[in-house]
Subunit: 291 residues, 4 copies
C-alpha cells in the first residue's frame, strides 16, 4: 500500500524560516501562573523556590542548545537569545520556539519536587508555558530589549514589594493598598517601604530586583581594552559567521559546551556587563577560565 495518494497534503506545510542575520529572541511565559501560584502556595511577592526552579530549567535549556548566547528571566517569563549568525534548525521559527518551550517544560516538571519537596504537583493542573520568537535587527535594539525586560522587572518588583508589605505587614486590604499605590512613582514607594516599615528597598535580594541572567562563563575582559571596538559588530561579524560551514558550526558548539553556564543577578542595562563579556554579543567563544 503506497502512501502517494495522500502525500499531496505535505504541500500545505509552509516555510517559516526567520530572516538571516538578525537576533532571535524566544520569550516564554507561564500559562495561567497567577492561578497556579495560588494553587501551589507560592510566597508573595517573590517565591525564591519558584525562581530557582525557573533558573534551573533555563540552565538546562542553555546547556541543551549551545547556539543560545544569553537568557534573561523574571517572574514566570524567560527570554532566550540566539545570535544573528545562528543557523540552528535552518532558523525555522516553530522548531526553535517549540524546542525551547518543550525542553524548559520538561525540566521544570522534572525538577519540581527538588524545589517544592512538600508541595507535589496536582494533575491535571501542571505548569506549562507558551512562547514566541521575535526578531531584532541590530545589537542596539537587542540590548534595548534586554533593558526593557530588566526595567520591567524593577518596576514590577518595587510595586509588588510595596503592595505586599502594605498588605502583609501593614494589615491593609488588597483594595486599599492598590488604591493608595495608584499614581505613585518610584520614590513614593521607596518612602512607604522605608518610613512605614523600615525597609530599605536597596537591601532586597538582587534576584528580585535584577532578575536572572544566564550565560556561558569565560574569562572576563578588561572593559577599557574592549570599548573601542564595541561598535560595528552588527555589520561585520554576523555576516562572516552566517557563512561558516556546518563543520565550523559544530566545532563552535563543542567549544561552547565546555563553558560553564552561570546564573547572575546583575545590571544588564549599562555597558559594563556586555563589555566585560564580549563573547555574548560577538557569538565567538571566549577563553575558558584557568583552573
Amino acid at each position: 500500500m503506497a502512501n502517494s495518494k495522500y502525500e499531496y497534503v505535505k504541500s500545505f506545510e509552509q516555510p517559516d524560516v526567520l530572516l538571516p542575520n538578525t537576533w532571535i529572541v524566544v520569550r516564554i511565559d507561564g500559562r495561567g501562573f497567577h492561578k497556579l501560584s495560588d494553587r501551589y502556595g507560592f510566597i508573595k511577592p517573590n517565591d525564591r523556590r519558584a525562581l530557582d526552579l525557573m533558573n534551573a530549567a533555563a540552565v538546562e535549556v542553555m546547556k541543551e542548545l549551545p547556539d543560545l548566547c544569553i537568557a534573561y528571566g523574571v517572574s514566570d517569563e524567560y527570554s532566550f537569545v540566539f545570535h544573528p549568525s545562528c543557523q540552528l534548525f535552518e532558523r525555522r521559527s516553530a522548531k526553535l520556539v517549540t524546542t525551547i518551550v518543550s525542553t524548559f517544560t520538561a525540566h521544570y516538571i522534572y525538577q519540581w519536587g527538588t524545589y517544592f519537596p512538600s508541595t507535589p504537583l496536582q494533575p491535571p493542573y501542571l505548569p506549562s508555558f507558551d512562547g514566541r520568537a521575535v526578531l531584532y535587527p541590530t545589537t542596539r535594539i537587542l540590548r534595548d530589549y534586554m533593558s526593557w525586560r530588566q526595567v520591567d522587572c524593577h518596576i514590577n518588583n518595587l510595586y509588588n514589594t510595596t503592595f505586599w508589605t502594605m498588605v502583609q505587614q501593614g494589615g491593609m486590604s488588597n483594595t486599599d493598598a492598590e488604591r493608595e499605590l495608584q499614581g505613585t512613582v518610584s520614590s513614593d514607594k521607596n518612602e512607604i517601604l522605608f518610613k512605614r516599615f523600615g525597609i530599605n528597598y536597596n537591601n532586597e535580594d538582587e534576584i528580585f530586583k535584577k532578575g536572572s541572567v544566564v550565560y556561558r562563563q569565560y574569562q572576563l575582559e578588561d572593559p577599557k581594552l574592549e570599548s573601542k571596538s564595541k561598535h560595528g559588530d552588527d555589520d561585520e561579524a554576523p555576516v562572516d559567521e552566517s557563512k561558516t560551514s556546518k563543520s565550523q558550526q559544530d566545532k563552535l558548539r563543542k567549544l561552547r559546551r565546555k563553558a560553564q553556564v552561570v546564573v547572575d543577578h546583575v545590571d544588564i542595562i549599562k555597558d559594563e556587563f556586555w563589555e566585560r563579556r564580549p563573547w555574548i554579543l560577538s557569538g565567538k567563544p571566549g577563553k575558558l577560565p584557568e583552573a
Copy 2:
C-alpha cells in the same frame, strides 16, 4: 523609572494569526526519540508503555483544550486538530503550537513513572517534543491528512514488525534483514511473517496497526441517516460559527468538557468513522451518552 524609553522594542513583534475558517493541525514529534528509545530501553518494534504514555499525555491535552476536535497519534508523533471555527488565542500560531507542545510535555514527564516504573528519567536526557501548525482549507483535505498519517502508521508498522521479527526471532543481522526487505511490497512482508514465523499480521494489536485516535465521545449516529448531509459542511458551518460570540464559544467549551475523551484504535480512512461521529467534523457537540 518609566519603561517608555525601551518599549519601542514591542513594535518588532509580528502578528502570526492563522487564516480564518481553515482546519489547523498541530503536529508534534519527539525530539531525538531514536536515541532516547535506546537509552530508556524501549521494546522493539513497539513499546506499549511508550504508546500508552503518549496517549495519556494526548488525552490531557484534549481535556485542557476543548477547542480540539480530534487527535491522532502514532509512534512518537501526535497530530491535534482544531476546527475551522476555532477562535482560541485569536488563532495565533505560536500560542496554539507552544501551548500544545508544553502541555503535552508536562504530562509526558509527569506520568513517565506510571508507565516506566522501573526506568527512571535520567537528566539531562529528558524527552521533549517539537511542533508546528499546518492549515488545511477543506474537510476533504483534512481527512486526507488524517488518512496520510494512518497509512504511514500501517506502512511503518508492517515494515518494523517484519524487520524485528527477522532479527529477534530469525536471528538475522540488522543489515541482512534490511537488505532482504528492500524493494518488497506489503504482500511480501505478510508472507515472510506468516511462512517463516507463523505470524498473521492481521492478528497484531490494533494500536500498532492503526495508531491511536483521541476524541470526545457522544452517542454514535446511524451512518445512513447522516450520509446525505455529509457534504456542504465546509461552506456553511464554519462561517456561522466563526461569527459566534465569545459567550457562545465559552458555552460550547463547557459542553465539550462534559464529554468523555476516549482513545480508539480504528480505521479513520473510510467514511464510517466520521459518519457515525458527525460532531468531530461539524464542530458541534453531540448528545451525551445516556447513563
Copy 3:
C-alpha cells in the same frame, strides 16, 4: 570577477507562497483617485469613460492571465480571482499581485487616450494602482466576498447618486446635502430622488448599480440541472486539479484563451449567475458557444 562574495544576500529573500487549494483574490485600488478624478475632470457621480477604461484594462488582464476565472470592478477598484487549483508562478504572492497591478496599469495608461481623447495625461500625475492578495478557503466565502463588493457598489452608488443630484440639480451645497443624508436608509434616498427630482433609481444604468463582472463566455447551462451538484466542489475539484501536471495546466490555459472575455453588469449575489456559468467556480472550461 566572480560574484560569489556577494551572492549570500540572496539568502535574505523569503518565500511567499500562498496556501494551496484556496481562492486567491487580488484586489487593486486606484492610488489617490479622489484627487485624480478632480484633476482630470471625471463626471460625478459616475464617469462612464473612466469605468469603461477600467473595464478595458481588466479585460486585458483576464486575457493575459488565463488562470483568472472572474473579475469584478466598481469605481476605481478591481478584484481578480484565481481558482484554488491555480499553480501560476507557484502561487507566489508578490509575483501574482505585481503582475496584475503592472499589466492593469500598462493598459490603463496606454488606452487612456481612447477613453479621454480630449483630456491628455499630465505627468507626473499619472494614474497608478496598489494591490494585495487575500485568501478565501471555501467557495461560500469567495461568493460572500463577491457579494460584499457588489453590495458595497450598490450602497455607494445610491448614496453618490442622491448626493450629486441634490447638489447638481437641487443646488444644495456639499455640506448641506451631506448633512441631510446622514442617517438615512435606502428607502429615504430612493424617495428623495423620486419625489424631488423625478428620478427612479431603478432606471439608472446597470453598470453604475451593479458594477462590472468580467469572465470567459461559454454556453450557458440550465440552472435546474446544475443545482443539485452545486455543493461539494470545494472538497473534490480543487484537490484533483492541484495535482494536474504542467502539461495539463498548459492545455487548460490554451482552452481558456479561446473563450471570449465579456463584461457584464448583472447580479452576482444570487445563485443564478453562478449556476448558469458553472465553469467559473469549477475551474474547468465550459463548451464554447456555437458559431
Copy 4:
C-alpha cells in the same frame, strides 16, 4: 441594505507589515523582456533608449516617493531602497511593492513614445514588471546587495558585449560564440575584444559597465571627515528616526522633495560613493547645493 452580512470576509485579510528598522529593497523586473526586446527591436547587447526609458521611469518613482533613498538599475531590472526608518504605508509589503511597480509601469508606458518615437507599442504586448520586497538587516548587507547587483551588471555586460561583438562583427553563429565563451574568465573576454576586434572594454559607455544609480543630490562631503563616523549608524540612527512623529516625517519628505534626483553611472562597491553622500545611508537630508 446594510453590508454587515458579508463584511466578515474582511477578517481574511492578513497583515504584511515588514520588520521595523531593516532596509527594504523593492526589486522590479521586466516580464518577458527577452521576447519583448525582440518584438520592439532593442539593439544588442545594450539599447541606450531602453535604458534611458528605464531610468526616466525610475526618476519619477524616486520623485513620487521621497522615502526612497537610492535606486539602482541594470538591464530590465531596478532596485529601490527604503531606509530602515521608513514608515511609509506602515511598512506594508504589498502596498510598498505595488505602488512602486505601478508608478514605474505608468511612466514607462507613458514615456515610451519619447524614447522609441518610431516604434509604437503594439497591444496587447505591452511592457510590464513584477516585483518583490526583500529585507536587509544591516547597512553592510544592504551595501553588499548593491554590490551584488553592480558586479552582476559588469559580468553580464562583459559577456554580452563579447558575445554580440563575436556575432555581429565576427560573423559567428550564436551557438559558436556561446561555445567559445563557455568557461572563459574576464581576462579572456577582454582579450577577445581587444585582440580580435580592437575594442578596449574600458572605453565602453559607463552606463553599460556600471548600470545606473539614482539618488537625491546634495552637497558632496569630504570623504576624510566622514570616514570616522561611518560605523555605528545601524545601531543609532534608525531607532531614533522610527520614533519620529508623523509631522517630522512629513517635514523630512518636503525637504527631500526639494533635492534634485540625479542619474549616475559610477562605482557603488567602494566606500567613496557612500562616504561623499552620507545622506543616502543616514536617511537624513543633506545640504542643498548652492545656486
